[in-house]
């Protein structure tokens, strides 16, 4: 009776043992990649808004400071989405008849708020506070990207916990002087490796143990 398995089966079986390891590793990689992909994190995805508001035009072109509209950013957890009144401050004078801005005028006229779609959406068990980040030298750009180059607001980063911890574990990589918080396209005046630790010390940014304590963000 001839052998059921040819001699090459030995090689195949050895190879398949190895292959299973690679397949499992590959599967793991696929899962993790999907998990980190824009598909899951919603990063880099355009969202249609009631008015296609352009940060590129307002912040980049016209040069309005972030805090003109996001007034609460220095004092509150929320940066604050401007009331319709803020839009109307200017748009009662300029582009006051533009059909593009009709929803804004309608909102002001009928006392009905605009319903913006949230772009940066953290899970409900995360309590992010804008004011403390701004105080400690985290620039708008660090998390929100080059807003002055966004015709429509998009989320530029994953907003996953590993991304948060990236900074919470070593804020020196990212901090900038307080007077540069709203600067877009910020370039450190000296090497960040030198400036970062200095600012961390100057701004009394807490140590690793505090910054990675769960209740700092979750409660």
């Amino acid at each position: 009776m001839s052998q059921v398995f040819p001699k090459s089966a030995n090689a195949w079986s050895k190879a398949s043992v190895l292959a299973i390891v690679f397949v499992l590793l590959g599967l793991g990689w696929v899962v993790l990649t999907i998990q980190r992909s824009d598909f899951v994190t919603s990063a880099n995805q355009f969202v249609e808004q009631p008015v296609q508001f352009s940060h590129q035009h307002h912040a980049g072109g016209v040069g309005i400071d972030c805090r003109y509209c996001h007034t609460a950013v220095e004092v509150s957890a929320s940066a604050g989405i401007p009331p319709t009144k803020t839009c109307i401050n200017c748009h009662s004078q300029i582009w006051s008849t533009s059909s593009y801005l009709e929803p804004v005028r309608a909102s002001f006229r009928d006392d009905k708020p605009l319903n913006w779609v949230r772009v940066h959406d953290l899970p409900d068990f995360v309590y992010f506070n804008h004011s403390i980040h701004v105080t400690k030298g985290v620039g708008c750009e660090t998390c929100h990207g080059r807003v002055d180059k966004m015709p429509l607001m998009i989320q530029k980063v994953s907003l996953q916990m590993e991304w948060c911890l990236n900074c919470h574990r070593d804020p020196a990589q990212f901090v900038r002087p307080r007077d540069q918080i709203t600067t877009m396209g910020y370039q450190p005046a000296m090497a960040q490796a030198e400036l970062g630790p200095r600012l961390v010390k100057e701004y009394k940014i807490a140590g690793l143990e505090h910054m990675t304590s769960c209740s700092v963000c979750h409660r």
């Binding site: 319709t84 979750h218 409660r219």
Partner: protein, 1078 residues
């Protein structure tokens, strides 16, 4: 048997598990309990009779982490079906993580109001009126949603604290069962139709000048509302106004009138009182003009730090075991009807002329000792009489206070906060008589007094009311009274409407709304306006107009000048505010605009402060009637069994029956939830062969009610206490069907106590109490000493340690805690057990209500519980209250057993609970010696009802099912303070972080702060000689520590031994059950 049947059987077992009745259904041999308590080495402190009796059921209960079927599947068939179900769920469990976050909208303001910063709450001062007395509050508002109520530190009644009703009132605001539309005989109608109906009713009365009109309100302490009603009465001179509070204070009024010839409210200053005698007065919790203030003053005299300090001494003579009774140094249980005899005996000894009597049998030594103590502390003692006591006792108390020099020293006399004090029982009786005589054609009922439910049963109010041709009701709920009315108008909640109200000392608060009426409710001001000549006025205009013209002492002068009075105030002579002479300021005549400006300035200040400064009454020095002794009419002693009616400790008079927070709150002394019961003492139970849960038929005054009994240690012999407000049929989805309607038994002849007989029916009822929940399994964690013992040995708590630990021995590496380190100290000598902290915690931390069936399974979710321990003998035990939040151990046993690191330590010493990591193994709870962790067995949080979403604190995660949770030391408040401090580049100040339980506490028993700061209040308390750690021998190093109780019993009277020490077992020396290690 098919698997399906098996599953169903298992479900049935879960739902109707007979063993869940265990602590109720098995007889407790009280003889055995007594014997065990008296024997040498018996339990020193104990929570329940079942625990002392060590019934097998109790042991079984103790052995189980959670009741049957909650923690384990021992039945192999059940286990198999469980596996089948779970394998399917497990396969899908991972998929739940794959949901894409739903799109969220951001809805900014169109025009952002000034001062509103999204994400930052604002606080508004207003006031809540309950029982005709207002108390100032600060309401936290998140973008227009009131979420939490705090006390107003500047208000004389609140002093920063609130009671549990105020805490719970925010849930009533959002209650989806509140009535939401105006109805006429069930048909939805507009507001204009109400006005038309009222005007129609009035025009029918125009010929008789309102002879057929009756207005029935709660006790009115609002100057504006009273002025409005009086204006209506001017227009309709023959109409009548009746005030009705289900538990009126007629006796106190009548007593004052006997003593002084006029209505006066005694206001006590307990901070000056060394000796206090309470004659059935529950002044620390439910009675009196201002129990928050009294509790603060009382506790202020209970702090001893070294041997030089002294304590006050509290004597309580009462039938029911009340909260105040639990704090007594010497407590005498006595039938309510015998209190008068006791008071007479004390008065006679204290030298009150003409008052004679002998103390009830057995209480002579007590009366003797009390009288001697009172006389020995002339000018530093005080006698208080309870609302339930007859006028005679109040009059004797007034006479006693005069005799012992209390009047003017520890007690002052003020006009009542209600604008027109009346005899409410008499007024309601007259109303019923007039209706029966056909003299009433139009009845307007406003408020929550719900007379159809609460009127004395012999009045047959419901029957009478149905004879009135036009019945209009306005209230928060379409309750029993609304059902019998033609018209029902939803009321605006006090957080939705403008108003005003006087507090105990006359201080007026303007009540300002926090939110537009959620259900289109109308305030009392707006409803009364429909009866006036200007029917369509809103509450704001009415209140402002009144105060524009009112004379306010101390307000900017121009206002007084502009006092043209469109609404006349004609208060009853007795209650006229004793206006200080300084009010008639000779102000120069001001031009009208100046007056308007001045008023605007005042108005803004009043709203900002939460009260109008200078409106407090000036105390009067009334002369005690010289013939007071002869004017006192002696009451009759009830022979045999006596029945007592009391306000409920958690749902008040029934108006909070639909409030889940308050229904689920264990009653401070009995720990009963979701029901009322006939409270009886152990001796009464023995004499009648009754067990907790046995239904008895109570016959009283020709009426019968079947109620289950609950044996309360310390309750007076031969007396039953029933609380009112339960057994509602129209309360709403939460309150309907809870408990027993004791109003049906209560008549006008004996509104507070009377004779009754009981018959055992043989049936039983499932009463659910939490006294045995979260048992510490026999380990004694209460320590106390008498004042003498403390003075002799201030370090007594240290000597009660189980073993002296060398703190360096630990399996864990020692950690150095730097920076802010949070800790808490709880003073058991200050805590009165009032339980407001539990409701504050519930409101602050979005803690769900689970319902009676789940409470029975130990699943109540309260992060903070108050363990009530009895000590000593069954009939006159001492009571200890121990608030038990998470102990925040440094070496936390819960952390090491979590397989997913869902509970970990923060650098500030907090034992963090990370909900999003928790997978629900419950190992942590199993490993917690204090049993302070709570598990969401089901989806307890209501994720659907939109109203409840509005109430939630946005700074705290709403937990879903399968999640463990526990006290966080209010980490959201710590974070808010830390961020604020860091932004201002400073460290967190002491007192800047106040936990919810601490903020609400009337006695300041809970102190929280940074233990690394030697100057912080908490660090100072922790260095007190009374400070001790519970279960210190476990070396978990809790951050929550306790200050031992120091009691001050009169050495001349018998007292229970003090407790604590390593040879002190509570329930049992034995392990709960073989292998029962949790």
């Amino acid at each position: 048997m098919t698997p399906i049947q098996i599953t169903r059987a298992a479900d049935d077992a879960e739902n109707t598990d007979p063993k869940a009745h265990r602590s109720m259904s098995v007889p407790v041999d009280l003889q055995k309990v007594r014997a065990r308590l008296e024997q040498q080495g018996g339990p020193q402190v104990w929570r329940s009779l079942e625990a002392v009796a060590e019934t097998t059921e109790f042991k079984d209960y103790l052995h189980r982490e959670f009741p049957t079927n909650a923690s384990e599947w021992l039945d192999p068939v059940g286990r198999r079906s469980f596996m089948k179900l779970m394998s399917a769920s497990m396969a899908l469990a991972g998929v739940t993580a794959c949901t894409v976050q739903p799109t969220e909208l951001i809805v900014p303001y169109v025009r952002q109001p000034e001062e509103v910063i999204p994400g930052k709450p604002l606080f508004f001062a207003t006031a809540m009126t309950l029982g005709g007395v207002a108390s100032g509050v600060l309401v936290e508002s998140h973008e227009g949603r009131p979420t939490k109520i705090e006390g107003n530190p500047d208000h004389p009644a609140s002093q920063g604290a609130t009671d549990l009703f105020t805490q719970g009132s925010v849930l009533t605001l959002y209650d989806p069962d509140r009535s939401q539309t105006i109805t006429q005989l069930g048909e939805i109608r507009p507001w204009s139709a109400v006005i038309a109906a009222v005007r129609g009713g009035l025009s029918a009365q125009s010929g008789s000048k309102g002879a057929g009109l009756r207005i029935l309100t709660e006790t009115v302490n609002s100057p504006t509302l009273a002025a409005q009603i009086q204006q209506v009465l001017q227009l309709q001179p023959n109409a009548k106004w009746i005030q009705w509070e289900p538990l009126p204070r007629d006796n106190a009024r009548a007593g004052a009138r006997t003593a002084f010839g006029e209505y006066l409210e005694p206001v006590y200053d307990l901070s000056k009182a060394d000796v206090i005698l309470s004659l059935d007065a529950d002044f620390l919790a439910s009675e009196g003009a201002s129990n928050l203030r009294y509790a603060r003053q009382f506790a202020g005299r209970r702090r001893v730090e070294d041997s030089a300090d002294n304590l006050n001494r509290l004597y309580v003579v009462e039938s029911n075991h009340s909260v105040t009774g639990g704090r007594a140094d010497n407590r005498l249980p006595l039938k309510s009807s015998q209190v008068e005899a006791f008071a007479r005996a004390v008065a006679q000894q204290a030298g009150v002329a003409g008052v004679t009597g002998s103390a009830p049998a057995g209480s002579e030594p007590y009366a003797d000792a009390v009288a001697k103590d009172l006389m020995a502390h002339r000018g530093r003692a005080v006698v208080m009489a309870g609302d339930s006591q007859p006028p005679a006792v109040h009059a004797i108390a007034h006479a006693l206070n005069a005799a012992i020099g209390a009047a003017g020293a520890t007690v002052s006399y003020l006009p009542t906060p209600e604008v027109v004090p009346t005899e409410q029982h008499a007024a309601l009786r007259e109303l019923v008589t007039e209706i029966e005589a056909g003299r009433v054609q139009m009845l307007v009922i406003i408020g929550e007094s719900n007379p159809v439910l609460s009127a004395p049963a012999d009045f047959k109010f419901a029957e009478a009311m149905s004879k009135v041709a036009l019945r209009i009701h306005s209230g928060l709920f379409a309750d029993e009274t609304a059902t019998l009315s033609h018209w029902h108008v939803p009321s605006a909640h006090y957080l939705e409407a403008w108003g005003d109200g006087r507090s105990f000392d006359g201080t007026v608060s303007i009540v300002q709304p926090l939110i537009q009426p959620l259900y289109g409710g109308k305030s009392a001001h707006e409803l009364i306006a429909t009866l006036s000549d200007r029917p369509e006025r809103n509450g704001y205009d009415v209140v402002r107009e009144y105060w524009t013209s009112a004379k306010v002492p101390g307000a900017t002068a121009a206002v007084a000048v502009a006092a043209a009075t469109p609404i006349a105030v004609t208060p009853a002579p007795a209650s006229a505010p004793a206006t200080p002479a300084t009010t008639t300021v000779a102000a120069p005549p001001a031009a009208p605009p100046t007056a308007v400006e001045a008023f605007e300035k005042n108005w803004r200040k009043w709203l900002h402060d939460g009260f109008i400064a200078g409106t407090a009454f000036a105390p009067s020095a009334p002369m005690l009637a010289p013939d007071v002794a002869t004017r006192i009419t002696a009451g009759a002693v009830v022979d045999g069994l006596e029945i007592n009616f009391r306000r409920d400790e958690t749902i008040y008079d029934g108006r909070f029956a639909n409030n889940g927070w308050l229904q689920e709150l264990p009653k401070p002394v009995t720990k009963l939830t979701w029901d009322n019961a006939a409270l009886i003492g152990p001796s009464t139970a023995e004499a009648n062969h009754l067990q907790t849960g046995d239904i008895v038929a109570i016959q009283h005054d020709g009426r019968t009610l079947n109620v289950p009994v609950w044996i309360t240690p310390g309750h007076a012999k031969d007396a039953i206490t029933l609380s009112v407000g339960y057994g509602r049929t129209k309360a709403g989805r939460v309150g309907n069907g809870c408990g027993f309607n004791t109003y049906a038994l209560r008549g006008s002849t004996a509104p507070w106590f009377g004779a009754a007989t009981i018959t055992k029916t043989g049936e039983t009822y499932d009463l659910v109490g939490t006294q045995d929940h979260w048992s510490i399994e026999g380990r004694n964690i209460i320590r106390s000493a008498t004042l003498e013992e403390f003075k002799a040995k201030p370090t007594f708590v240290k000597e009660m340690e189980h073993l002296v630990l060398d703190k360096r021995i630990s399996l864990y590496a020692d950690k150095e805690y730097k920076g802010d380190q949070w800790g808490m100290a709880i003073d058991m000598n200050a805590c009165t057990g009032c339980s407001a902290c539990i409701i504050a915690c519930v409101a602050e931390n979005n803690i769900p209500v689970v319902g009676k069936a789940q409470v029975k399974r130990n699943r109540e979710m309260h992060w903070l519980r108050i363990d009530r321990y009895f000590a000593g003998n069954l009939d006159t035990p001492d009571t200890y209250y121990q608030p038990m939040p998470c102990q925040q151990c440094e070496n936390a046993p819960c952390e090491v057993v979590c397989p997913v690191a869902a509970t970990v330590h923060s650098d500030e010493g907090l034992n963090d609970m990370v909900y999003n990591r928790c997978v629900g193994t419950r190992y942590c709870s199993n490993n917690c010696p204090w049993k302070v962790r709570r598990f969401n067995f089901l989806l307890f949080a209501d994720f659907n009802t939109p109203q409840f979403k509005l109430q939630r604190n946005p700074d705290v995660t709403v937990r879903s099912r399968g999640i463990m949770e526990k006290c966080t030391y209010c980490v959201q408040r710590i974070n808010a303070a830390r961020i604020q401090a860091k932004r201002e580049d400073r460290s967190i100040r002491d007192g800047e972080v106040v936990t919810a339980c601490q903020a609400v506490c009337p006695t300041e028993a809970i102190v929280f702060g940074n233990i690394n700061d030697p100057n912080s209040r908490v660090a100072k308390l922790k260095s007190s000689p009374r400070n001790y750690t519970t279960l210190e021998d476990l070396n978990t190093r809790p951050r929550t520590t306790y200050l031992a109780a120091v009691r001050n019993p009169n050495p001349a009277l018998p007292s229970n031994p003090m407790v604590g020490g390593h040879h002190a077992a509570t329930e049992s020396h034995e392990p709960a059950a073989p292998g029962g290690g949790h």
